[in-house]
């Protein structure tokens, strides 16, 4: 553990710069990473799927996939990884940092765009840059999946209605034969204008010692 520890410490500044977390937070997250990966260097999907608390989450598949999605690494790669290292783990987590209240409007807009991009990537599974009707339907179905036997018709109706709303808000005058391909990123931003993403989409990353972190029991 010693060697990797010192190696990690050298990287702290590097990581802080890339992800924006403080040293304390990175340390805490590293400890969590170690726990999840069973002290390995990399986390695989199984490691994440083993977290018991996630079982009740209707969109756990999407969440786990998001971790392994290359698009969320702030580089222009596409595709998915099989395992992620700590740095990549951190990069994904950095999407959930709260925005600094002293940030300028521009910075806030950038952060907002970043977070929206994360959401968009979660929906746009085939990475063609638009959320098609089918993809959106899948989203709604997943959302409702834990609520017992929901008729797929209702889920589809909701997704269709939502799609229609996006279309009518963004492209109000379409001729009857035009086809609205899907929700582009700009349209996505537009319809979610009402939700203040920069303040809603965050979790509190602790600065204090890991004593305050309670971790879910992992089976390994």
């Amino acid at each position: 553990m010693g060697a990797s520890q010192t190696r990690l410490e050298h990287n702290y500044d590097d990581l802080t710069e890339k992800s924006g977390f403080s040293h304390e937070q990175i340390k805490n997250l590293y400890q969590r990473f170690q726990q999840l990966s069973g002290n390995n260097e990399k986390i695989s999907r199984d490691d994440l799927e083993r977290i018991p608390a996630l079982n009740n989450n209707p969109i756990r598949k999407q969440i786990i996939t998001a971790f392994f999605d290359k698009r969320n690494q702030h580089q222009n790669d596409v595709g998915s990884l099989d395992e992620i290292g700590f740095e990549q783990f951190l990069m994904v987590m950095s999407h959930f940092r709260p925005v600094n209240s002293k940030a300028t409007e521009e910075e806030k807009a950038t952060v907002r765009k970043q977070k929206l991009r994360f959401l968009f990537n979660m929906h746009d599974t085939d990475n063609d840059g638009i959320i098609t009707l089918d993809e959106y339907r899948t989203v709604v179905e997943e959302l409702l999946s834990q609520s017992g036997a929901i008729e797929t018709e209702v889920a589809r109706a909701i997704a269709d209605a939502a799609m229609l709303e996006v279309a009518s808000t963004n492209v109000p005058h379409m001729a009857p034969d035009d086809f609205y391909e899907g929700i582009t990123f700009e349209h996505f931003e537009q319809i979610l204008k009402g939700i203040e993403m920069e303040s809603r989409m965050h979790i509190r990353f602790l600065d204090k010692n890991a004593a305050t972190m309670r971790c879910g029991k992992l089976s390994s």
Binding site: I51, I158, P176, I195
Partner: protein, 787 residues
């Protein structure tokens, strides 16, 4: 208002006439009241004697003439006076809004106080004693509960919970700070600043502290009255308003504490400690009582499906009982009421009919409105009634100290709070919070309750309280609106919650919970999620009747939206032109994926030109009265006067065209959402309804070209259109096939069965929806307990 189109002259004259009538009525009612209050002393005994005499007399039949017209005011005196006051209050409210521009400049509360002053002045001017109208019992048991219940029932839970920490700190710590600061400094001023023989120096520390605790509480009635009209953003509104509600617990505890201490005279540390404990007991006890009654109410509402008429009564009764029960134990009645309303709302709303929901909404609004009006008028009257003891030093020092204490308190607390908040409170926010700390009738009533023997300085206190109230309501109330404009504070967003926002809010909730779980960090979202699941699993099953208990929130939201649209459509008779922000021509057809191109053979069917096709589609759409309307921003074709509309002879033409269209459409799943038809006379609407294809049956496809058989000539005459059936049909169809889809023939048979199961559900839904819609919909948005 329809009178707008009438010439201004006549409407102006009407208004003037109305105002004169109001004034005359006002005068006469005042005189009656004054007369009545003086009447009570002398003739009562004479009356009763007289009655006895006449009774005896009637036996003996002494030849007294039979009174054809008799005056007996005493029997009806009390109800009569009450009704008169309420009528006066309501007429005043009417009057204000008729006077142009007045309600924009001056908040209603100020005007009402002025009216109260006038009434009091008139009564006094006629030489009579002003009746002590703002009796504390009347205030606390009759006038205050409706306002608080209205606030609690429609409390927006989500922002409240999100800011609960901030609200609690402002309410508890802020009020304590205010009370001690004002009380302490006032004592200091009284001792130091004045001569030892003056009355002020005799005011003890405890009395000052008691006064401080009375005057320091922000008043929910005043806050509501003023903030209603300025429409600031939700965050600030909930902060100030939440504070005003929750500080009741602090006020109650402090009041009783100091009252008792100043009665006994000695303060010990143990008693102080007990005071702290009693605070928790009062607050938590109040909430507990409220929650208990709320659950009872929710449980009761589960069984009311057969007696819908008395559903609203349960809501009101249980809430009032919660309030009174809390008051029995000296717990915080306001908190009980809020807790009761907030807890019972999601479950009760899932159980009761739509009409009951509307009734509850209207009744609460009505009662709280009348209460508020009466409170302010009575404040004015009580000011005139006195008794007053004006002491320049005391009053001015009080006013100044209150302001200073509030500002320092808010600034100091915000500094601490901002360390824990993500969305920090800016200086502008702080200013509004400080400035919005209005005092009101609760302070006055509490002061009124003080006993004269324990508190010889009661009148000084009352005068000071009234002055502070006047100052805050008039000065701060009037200037807050221009200040809000000046400082460009964010206003309330009027936009309706769209379904996309709803979907993504839920998505975000789950996402953040998931990320928290991955981080291993049991935060905010984790516990919220746990509570939601508990709610869904156990609580909803108990408290919500039937099928609705399993309905996930997204679906409930969606159905609510659809219902609203349907109701609007029915209400307008199908003739409204909804003020849609963006009339768009997008329809489902535009977003459905294209079918693969068909082989050439099937294209042999004659192609219609594009424009004709569009025209025909328009006809189809305008003729299909579907009750499922989507959101306003959806498909609303701009309405072209259809050339084919009139005359039955064109029906045949339409039928032909429709067949051609169906051939063209083939396997496309086409949602034909229906736009609002042109504003028409009702008979035209009914004619259109009658000609509606009521049923869609699908001919067996012979060569894989499904066709819709449209039954145009319906047997129903225009006047016998049964809307209920229409709904039933439409909803049934909705449940089974989600739109006008052309499916292979085998489906409809099977489709009927799930349709029938749902019919019971639909009938319930229908029963709930066919009613006049409620007032402004912006309170409807919060569906679940913890959304």
């Amino acid at each position: 208002m329809p009178s707008r189109t009438v010439s201004h002259g006549s409407s102006g004259r009407l208004r003037g006439l109305f105002l004169v009538m109001v004034l005359v009525f006002l005068e006469s009612s005042v005189f009656t009241l004054a007369f009545a209050s003086s009447d009570q002393h002398s003739p009562t005994t004479a009356h009763s004697d007289g009655h006895k005499a006449t009774d005896h007399g009637s036996h003996n039949n002494t030849g007294k003439a039979f009174p054809v017209l008799d005056l007996n005011y005493e029997n009806v005196r009390v109800p009569f006076e009450i009704s008169l006051w309420v009528l006066l209050a309501s007429l005043m409210k009417l009057g204000f809004h008729l006077v142009p521009h007045l309600s924009n400049i001056v908040p209603e509360s100020c005007l009402l106080i002025v009216v109260g002053l006038l009434v009091g002045g008139i009564i006094r001017g006629t030489g009579e004693t002003v009746p002590p109208v703002l009796d504390s019992k009347l205030f606390f048991y009759i006038l205050l509960p409706p306002i608080i219940l209205d606030a609690g029932y429609f409390l927006p839970i989500r922002p409240f919970m999100e800011n609960l920490g901030t609200i609690l700190i402002f309410a508890v710590v802020g009020t304590l700070w205010n009370a001690f600061f004002v009380g302490g400094l006032l004592y200091g001023v009284c001792q130091i600043g004045t001569e030892s023989s003056s009355i002020l120096s005799r005011i003890g520390l405890l009395q000052c502290l008691l006064f401080g605790s009375i005057i320091s509480a922000v008043d929910p009635v005043a806050v509501l009255a003023v903030f209603e009209e300025i429409h600031i953003n939700e965050l600030l509104h909930i902060l100030v308003f939440g504070e005003s509600l929750l500080n009741d617990a602090v006020t109650v505890v402090l009041y009783h504490l100091f009252e008792e201490f100043s009665g006994i005279g000695t303060v010990t540390l143990v008693k102080g400690f007990l005071g702290v404990i009693s605070f928790f007991v009062v607050a938590l006890g109040g909430v507990l009582v409220g929650v208990l009654y709320g659950i009872l109410a929710a449980f009761t509402s589960r069984f009311t499906s057969h007696t819908r008429v008395i559903e609203p009564l349960f809501v009101f009764l249980y809430s009032y009982m919660a309030y009174l029960s809390a008051e029995i134990f000296h717990l915080s009645g306001i908190m009980a009421l809020i807790a009761c309303g907030a807890v019972m709302r999601p479950y009760v709303e899932a159980n009761i009919s739509h009409k009951s929901h509307t009734t509850i909404k209207y009744f609460l609004k009505m009662w709280s409105s009348v209460s508020e009006t009466l409170i302010f008028i009575f404040l004015g009257v009580a000011t005139v009634a006195g008794p007053h003891d004006w002491n320049w030093t005391f009053v001015t020092v009080t006013v100044i100290l209150c302001l200073v204490a509030r500002v320092i308190g808010v600034v100091g607390l915000t500094f601490i709070i901002n360390k824990f908040r993500i969305v920090k409170l800016t200086t502008k926010d702080q200013f509004i919070i400080a400035y919005g700390g209005l005092r009101g009738a609760i302070a006055f009533s509490l002061g009124f309750l003080l006993e004269k023997d324990h508190f010889p300085e009661r009148e000084i206190f009352l005068t000071a309280i009234i002055t502070v109230i006047f100052f805050t309501v008039f000065v701060q109330g009037m200037t807050i609106k221009p200040l809000v404009e000046l400082l460009a504070v964010k206003k309330k967003q009027e936009a309706k919650r769209s379904i996309n926002e709803e979907i993504h809010t839920q998505f975000l909730d789950h996402l953040l919970t998931g990320i928290e779980d991955i981080c291993g960090h049991y935060g905010h979202h984790h516990w919220k999620d746990k509570l939601n699941r508990f709610n869904k699993k156990y609580v909803k099953k108990c408290l919500i009747a039937g099928e609705r208990s399993k309905e996930p929130q997204l679906i409930a939201f969606y159905h609510k939206m659809e219902m609203k649209q349907a109701i609007q459509l029915v209400e307008s008779g199908g003739g409204i032109k909804l003020p849609s922000a963006m009339p768009s021509t997008v329809s489902m057809q535009n977003i459905q994926p294209r079918p693969p191109t068909k082989p050439a053979a099937e294209r042999a069917i004659p192609q219609l030109s594009k424009t004709k096709e569009e025209e025909i589609r328009k006809i189809l759409r305008t003729n299909l009265q579907r009750t499922r309307q989507r959101l306003r921003s959806y498909n609303r074709h701009t309405l072209v006067a259809d050339p084919y509309e009139d005359g039955l002879s064109d029906l045949f033409l339409k039928k032909q065209k429709m067949f051609q269209i169906e051939k063209k459409l083939k396997e496309m799943n086409t949602y034909l959402t229906v736009p609002a038809p042109p504003p028409d006379s009702p008979t035209m609407c009914r004619a259109r309804l009658a000609s509606d294809p009521q049923a869609y049956s699908i001919k067996p496809a012979l060569n894989k070209v499904p066709m819709i058989q449209v039954d145009l000539a319906s047997p129903q005459s225009p006047d016998s259109v049964n809307l209920l059936d229409e709904f039933g049909q439409a909803n049934q169809q909705e449940e089974e096939e989600q739109g006008l889809m052309m499916k292979p023939p085998s489906r409809p048979r099977e489709g009927k069965k799930p349709g029938e199961e749902d019919e019971a559900k639909d009938q319930q839904k229908l029963m709930r929806c066919l009613s006049d819609p409620g007032p402004s919909a912006d309170e409807d948005e919060d569906g679940a307990f913890l959304p």
